[in-house]
Symmetry: D4
Subunit: 236 residues, 8 copies
């Protein structure tokens, strides 16, 4: 970067410098999680380059790229990555053997991209996602139909927009650890997901924890960390 | 009021001037509703005086006073009014013969004062309140136990604080007109009832309408106006 | 959805699975209301497909699609639906025989789309809409000219943007049930309809209830549910 | 103030230093307005001392003290000032001969203190206040009864809490300059007067200008400055 | 509008119905102001049609159209109107003979469009605008250079974005009536003009009144109403 | 409650009715958690009565009461409960045998009450709390000194006020599940804990989940549910 | 702290444990600043104990205690500390020899406590405060009278409430480093200092930096760090 | 500007009038800083013209243009300016000889444009920027690796988005003056940088001062003013 006088960056053995980004190569050692590329604001070329660099440095485990534009999804596929359309994400390298199970509940089709990001993140971080869709609070009979399954997983991620009431209802039905993800689905006084976020933070069901609006990735990381600590259970 | 130069208030045959307030005497003719005294910010003496004035002008129908302090409740009782402790309200004069029924649902003991204000307002405005308590979303079995009763009333008022999810769940179970009342119950990111208010405004159950935070009176007026228009039904 | 490991969706007899959406086929039985397609975020093809599926499952009653893009309106028309330009909506199948009347008041031309959505929703949900336009608070003589008609309907829906004062003024003139719809019309400190929403929630006229910003659909559902419960009245 | 090292205040011929405050003695020369003491946060002794100091420096014109506590009102009276209970204010010295007239409209008894502060401020700043009370938007007949008088004044100040709709309605009836004062009257989603403030800023009646919440003083200053510029008119 | 059942609009002798809008023809009689077309959200054809209709109904006085897009400006010009580029506005018909003067102060080039809208509105509403530019608070010497001129006008309109401090400084220099217009100029924590709006509402200079963000039109109306009431003064 | 007409509450075998509250007796069966009394807004007598009732119904496991006033703490102690001063809480009955460990980190003495509520809740819900105090981000050496211990627990709860940065720093050091608790400690632009809440929701460390402001109880429930699922580990 | 199971706090040689607080003894070594006790929420006894402990550990330099209640000021004086009434603070031990000068500007008497806290903090942190009071933007002549002095200091701290315009005006007059402190002085739409804070963040004068509302301490620390780095200048 | 009647701008010897802007020619004399062109909202032609005008008036020192669009960068280059891509800025004329050093810390690649604007502004305002990148709080080892260098500069500017925690951590490691710059990097509850801004304002590290969101220019001005006052130090 020639335009600023006196830049100063000494090499760091634990990172790879791509010019536009310095890539952390030992994150897995520190936290047990894979490397992840946050695609928002990056060009398709940058996404492909980072995916390739990280994959080359450890071909034995997956790299995950999230929040990809349509163009970045194409570039990722051309770089050899597996593309996940609904989740707007891509993976390169083999997924880990899963341990434990994470239930991913969502209400409507609008929440599908966030729920898919949760599920894919869970799979990349070492646990098995189990998606349960179309269980909104305004149609309780559907939720009641899956009630028993809430106790068969090691962690629940509940994705909801608008008023964000689903985690409260689910949280009243089970003692399984539960992470709520507000989505920006809504209009007017939803204020871009704020209504759902506040609803979840004020849940009357105890033990509900919350992540940022649309942060399926963060919820997936947290859920996988919880589920993969679980003792083995008999296969379904 | 001698301190302001040039005040200018001509007498109005339709009001009674008490010095500190001008009381509207023909509200009932205009809207079919009783006179109501909003007690917040009024002294016990003022509350008692307005109650008495209004009662004298039409002894055949009730006057309602809401948001009364403990002292104002005492003054109202001494003025001959019936005091309603939980609702923090008082009535003077006979209640109208009810027409139609209004279901008043609430979740916790903290919501009780607002729910009681709804019920009393409904009774004063010409309909019959039916209270259903302890039906929070985190304990669905209780709500399911009263499910059939939701269709037996002409209007529902659903009172809830915290995340305000109850109207969404109830609204998914019935097509009865439904008015949601957010309460200021909560702390932190409930922001004095804002979370519940936003949740209700963004309800995924269609047809939910909302009033101001803690506005049990307003919800009661609206519900009674709806229910008392209903055709007669067989008594329970 | 092949990209997420372990999806899990068992068939449900009460819904039709279109791949991108599961369509609720028994909503009418539960609430007495028609099926509705919320068009925002759906492709024209999806809108047409859902309309057709729902219409096929019950050709005797209307399906309503709202918040349609120009392209979706075209697709709906080609699928045989009736298109309502101002309301940005479409219907497929015969409207129900109306019972009761709903007055729909609005102030300016900017509020027309929301008012039209209210009126169409009312018609689809079994009541008769009566639109009264150009009655803003800054021109009281127009409102006064329609004053008598406010008592001739079973429910009022009042649509207003900017400061949202119209419901307060109308609410002071009549005891008819009144639902207020804030619109996002305005700029600067209107904050996308927040000013109108807050104004309506704080209305000094008792009995005003409120829906989300621009939520003409929700107001129409609520109003029709109220009006269609009314006893028969003599035709106008 | 001995606790801070190195204070540095050189005497200024145009101010009087009372130790706890430096009093501006030539404000009138600069703006044509009287000196004013903002009483909030001042002790009764301080209020009395400033009143007396200012009065002594120009016994021929009034000093105004606003936002006085009950104790400060007593202290002001003992210092020889005229106390205005409703306005929570006091004046010392003769009021100026008024020029022009300012109409001060308000809706309910809760807005009375702010309206009284407006009226008194107008009188102190050289114009004649004309108070018109109990003209809320939910009772239009009262407002219509005073309609002709809106054009008989040189400026209007409209005081309202809750949804703050009154200025829009009044502004549609007249072309007289109009200043709106939101009050903190309300609860819940009124957010301490924010709803009224936003409503007034978004008024659909053109030409409405607004001051801070409860700022009767500011509105009175602005109104008097406008009205006292008016050409003479025949006395009422 | 054929898509909504039961529309209901009786003719009103005081308005002209253009199909997409009903135009108020007697506004001038009621308030002394000209008709104004708010162009936001209207097509160029609609703007031209309304301008022409209003001009035809009273060719002797101007019609003003504000908030015009580039295309609407072209259409207005083709319809015979005079176009004001900076103000993004157009006028059709002769301006009134001005009475009184309004000073319009602004700080930077970014505020120019709002200041120009103020000035043009003043001219259309019967007073003479006097623009004073480039007088930001961070360059006091420029403001001081025009200090004497602040007392030579009958009303001041002060336009400012960012922190909105200019009205406070100007208000401390003069007793002339002063209207502040916050603009949406700024970024980050200016929140679209909110910072400037709050700053102006909290001005320490008494008598400052405020309009909505970017509302040059509203400020111009208010200022002209004030200035044109002024007694004649000698020409400059 | 005699003041409201037509209350309607049928007995429910799974609850105990105390008049002022209906107590849920089978919560433990449903979620594996103990009964908890939320003390805010309850009288000392009510707290003592609920504690005793719940304890009597299952003397073999603890009841927890939180958010107790000083008076309620006294009443709880007199009822035989163990009082926890810092946590402002009380327990009655034996704590469960812990399984797994929860690290509770906090920065300053002001956060102590919330951290203590977390720790006590963890103990009541079946896990072992390990408190680590005085590890604020502005003194990294203290945090670094306990770094190895972050991996020795099954879940971390990080309590912080002001800017709420501690969870981000801790989350960068470990892959242990981490729940962040914002506290209302701060002033000015902390807005009662909002700054810390937003900071935690936007944490750059992946996998951080968040609860409501000051909600130590909720964080404790969530953490215990996670930790007690962990496989046995060797004792420290 | 006996009520929480399993607390865990190993001794740290660099701190002194007082039971209710752990006191940092080597802050000065790390940053060159004195120890400071934040008094809000601490009992008078705690304040006195911490002051004494810190003073004993290094009697050669001052300890500063801020935000003290009236009772804590008494306790501090009895412990031998010097009390600073206006700043609501106390110091124990000799102040450092000052290097460089910091100008502390404020507008009104209401801002005096914050300005005094700035000045005292500056003195405790090794520079010389120079207070300049009563220089509000609505009285520019006073500010102009001290204009030359703005360049005679090494750093400026500008304290202002309400609209917070003073830093913009001062920042336009000088290139001296300038720190702005918003105060919570104001009412209504000042929202506890938010208006002033936003105003300062949006200052049109470049180079203005800002601290939290009422954070005189933080501004004083920053200013002293800047000023004491300055090369020596000739004494005044 | 012909469309507004009565414009009024007298020539000012200290500015150059370009028609669309009046350029301040003596800013440097007043504050010691260079002229700066704020490019947002200006056309490429305007940017080039102002750069050229200012450069011609003083060819011996640099002019800085910030917030340039891609087109404006091209126009600036064609006008002879040096373009700084990352900073989206351009300079024309020789940079001053630097005095003192400013450390510019940032966490991620997303913050690079703001950090580059800081560095370039510092260089233009007479000090030497030293950039230190990739030191986010979630990877403390990188920050610890540069710890010693924090004391080798005269001022620090810390750039961070999301939760904005970096300034608190850095501020705990050093006593060097520190200016924090929140960036709009983030999504959901980051609210366009508000979360980072609030975090920095509430920093638990004393002495942190803050500028507006994304205001790299303002931080650079402040930092250079501080650093260039420093006494000479030995070269690195």
């Amino acid at each position: 970067m020639s335009e600023t006088p006196g830049p100063d960056q000494r090499p760091d053995a634990r990172t790879a410098d791509l010019g536009f980004a310095r890539v952390d190569l030992e994150r897995a050692a520190r936290t047990g999680d894979p490397e992840v590329v946050y695609g928002a604001g990056k060009t398709p070329e940058q996404v492909a380059a980072i995916l390739t660099t990280l994959h080359t440095s450890h071909p034995d485990r997956a790299v995950l790229a999230t929040r990809l534009s349509a163009e970045a999804l194409v570039a990722a596929r051309e770089a050899g990555a597996t593309v996940h359309e609904t989740a707007r994400a891509a993976t390169l390298g083999p997924l880990p053997v899963p341990r434990g199970r994470v239930g991913v509940l969502s209400a409507g089709t609008s929440d599908a991209p966030v729920a898919a990001e949760v599920a894919l993140t869970v799979a990349c971080h070492g646990s098995e996602p189990v998606e349960i869709r179309d269980v909104g609070v305004a149609g309780l009979h559907r939720l009641m139909a899956v009630r028993d399954r809430l106790d068969e997983v090691d962690c629940l991620v509940v994705v909801a927009g608008m008023e964000g009431a689903l985690p409260s209802v689910v949280g009243g039905l089970t003692g399984t650890p539960l992470i709520a993800v507000p989505t920006s689905v809504g209009y007017g006084a939803s204020f871009g997901g704020l209504a759902a976020l506040l609803g979840m933070l004020n849940s009357c069901a105890p033990g509900v924890t919350v992540v940022n609006i649309d942060n399926g990735y963060g919820a997936g990381v947290a859920a996988a960390r919880i589920a993969r600590r679980s003792p083995d259970r008999a296969p379904r």
